[in-house]
């Protein structure tokens, strides 16, 4: 007869273990909650930053400035070269006159007063609408390289798409990711250590009980499972706390976005997969730490 322990028995015993040292359990749960909340915050920031960068990449404009003396054939050649690139959505050509008119519109009227038409700069321009898939700084570099190859053309004076700004944004995201990873690692490690220590104390305090259980014929699984569930319960509390904290933050942020409407953040501040991981994360961390502790200290 090899039946598993009854779930209600295991849960009750695990709950009694938690209750026997409520402060330790609380500290363990809090550190797990803190670690997970931090993961959540960084995930939020990074998720939205990369959304933003993707959006930027989808509506990117590359401007190719041609020399004033460029001939129509030169312009056509550059245009043809540009079109060979993947991700080009549209190409607009502005003659020198059209460019001048546009620049005129851009300048304030009082500045234009008494100004000679010819003094306003104007040169043939090709505006390229790009749909670039910007995932990392390397993608910006690839685009930059192509931009450079355009600049190498004789009739092209300059070509640019704001690469520097994009690089800076990516650098910020990378720094945030590194800080997030390090902090998460440190906090998760300390959370695991807290759970590990709590379970170890639990095992020591139940030394006699463990011996008795073994003597009356309990299997090692039967003896161990309540301690593992104790770890899972601590993790679950941590997860729920973290979820609560992130939920509040989420509401705050959504409110803020509604106020400052120009921010182009997606309505789901967290990817759904991440939410699942945050909820599962606590119990998993608790289980892992408890398993290490039980494996080391619970000998039957």
């Amino acid at each position: 007869m090899k039946r598993p322990p009854r779930p209600d028995y295991v849960l009750r015993q695990a709950w009694l273990l938690v209750r026997a040292s409520p402060w330790l359990a609380a500290v363990s749960s809090l550190t797990i909650a803190l670690a997970l909340a931090l993961v959540g915050v960084f995930a939020m920031v990074l998720f939205n930053a990369s959304q933003l960068l993707h959006d930027l990449g989808r509506s990117l404009t590359l401007t190719v400035y041609l020399r004033e003396n460029a001939l129509d054939t030169d312009i056509a050649a550059v245009q043809a070269k540009v079109r060979t690139h993947a991700g080009v959505k549209g190409v607009r050509v502005l003659t020198a006159d059209q460019d001048r008119t546009r620049n005129t519109k851009l300048l304030p009227a009082e500045l234009l007063q008494g100004l000679d038409e010819a003094a306003i700069p104007g040169q043939p321009v090709i505006e390229v609408d790009l749909n670039a898939d910007l995932g990392s700084r390397a993608d910006v570099d690839t685009l930059s390289a192509w931009c450079k190859s355009l600049k190498a053309v004789q009739s092209v004076e300059d070509a640019e798409f704001g690469a520097e700004k994009l690089r800076l944004l990516f650098a910020f995201v990378e720094i945030a990711r590194t800080i997030g990873l390090v902090l998460t690692f440190v906090l998760l490690a300390s959370a695991m250590f807290f759970v590990f220590s709590t379970i170890r104390l639990s095992v020591f305090s139940r030394k006699e009980e463990i011996e008795i259980l073994a003597l009356v014929g309990a299997t090692p699984v039967f003896i161990r499972v309540p301690f593992l569930v104790e770890g899972v319960l601590q993790g679950l509390c941590g997860s729920l706390l973290a979820a609560g904290l992130l939920g509040l933050l989420h509401l705050e942020l959504l409110g803020l976005i509604r106020d400052v409407h120009m921010l182009n953040l997606s309505a789901t501040l967290l990817p759904p997969g991440m939410i699942v991981w945050l909820v599962l994360g606590g119990p998993l961390v608790g289980l892992a730490a408890a398993a290490v502790s039980v494996g080391r200290y619970l000998k039957v």
């Binding site: 007869m1 090899k2 039946r3 598993p4 322990p5 009854r6 209600d8 028995y9 009694l16 006699e208 009980e209 011996e211 008795i212 259980l213 073994a214 003597l215 009356v216 014929g217 309990a218 299997t219 090692p220 039967f222």
Partner: protein, 268 residues
């Protein structure tokens, strides 16, 4: 039921606790295990429970050689052997009910079934009123009855007791002994380690005498029916209790069962 062939036990510190012991305890028998302190009584019981492994020799329980028993099978062997200690070994922060129920919880039985069986037994042992008290609130004699209830609740074929009366005053000790004898009358093989010479004399049951790890003497049961004069009738403790109406199921079902032993202590 229990057979030892040239069993020796040397502890890691070099102490020879048992030395070439050969003996046989038949199903349904009641034996005392006696000898001076350090003679090896507890060691013998520990070997039967596989709390220790014999250094040499073979031990058969219900025909199974426990020398070759895998560690993972030990819990299942222990479920067929109830055990009672001098210091009771109850779980301190649990109630009487929970302490007895644990022997069934480990088998994964359902809540209802456990309640039924534990309450029935506690009733028979006059412990039902204390069922939901913490065990530490009970007197020594009551605690030992709880320990016996735990040992019996899954109806094992064998009951081992290591100085079960050692911590009790003589009167309570007598009660406990009477209970063990009643249990034996219902078919359970019982072995009791004790150095209480008076007790051994009083009951006149088969007695194995150990001396410095050797089996010195195997005194058979006093052949004149001792129950008539020496022993009082079955105590009201368990008489008429559910135990009396049901033969030990575990003994009947388990692989440990074999032919009934003629030497069993008969009810008068």
């Amino acid at each position: 039921m229990i057979q030892l062939y040239h069993v020796s036990k040397r502890y890691p510190n070099g102490c020879d606790a048992l030395n070439d012991v050969t003996l046989r305890i038949r199903e349904g028998e009641f034996v005392f295990l006696t000898g001076a302190s350090g003679a090896g009584k507890s060691t013998l019981l520990r070997l039967l429970l596989v709390m220790e492994r014999a250094t040499e020799g073979q031990i058969l329980i219900g025909g199974r050689n426990i020398h070759v028993l895998r560690d993972s099978s030990v819990p299942f062997l222990r479920r067929n052997i109830g055990v009672v200690f001098q210091d009771f070994r109850l779980i301190k922060n649990r109630t009487v009910f929970e302490n007895v129920a644990i022997a069934l919880e480990i088998m994964g039985l359902g809540r209802k079934e456990i309640e039924r069986r534990v309450n029935q037994l506690l009733e028979g042992l006059r412990l039902i009123q204390r069922a939901h008290s913490p065990v530490t609130d009970l007197s020594g004699g009551e605690q030992q009855r709880v320990a016996i209830a735990r040992a019996l609740v899954n109806e094992p074929a064998i009951l081992l007791a290591d100085e079960p009366t050692g911590n009790l005053d003589p009167e309570l000790g007598h009660d406990i002994m009477q209970l063990l004898i009643d249990i034996n009358r219902r078919g359970t093989t019982v072995a009791v380690a004790t150095h209480d010479a008076y007790m051994i004399e009083h009951y006149g049951l088969r007695t194995l005498v150990l001396h410095k790890g050797k089996l010195l003497e195997d005194r058979p049961r006093v052949s004149v029916r001792p129950g008539q004069d020496v022993r009082p009738p079955p105590s009201p403790l368990v008489y008429g209790s559910p135990l009396a109406m049901q033969p030990p199921v575990a003994a009947a079902e388990s692989s440990l069962a074999s032919a009934a032993d003629p030497d069993a202590v008969e009810a008068p």
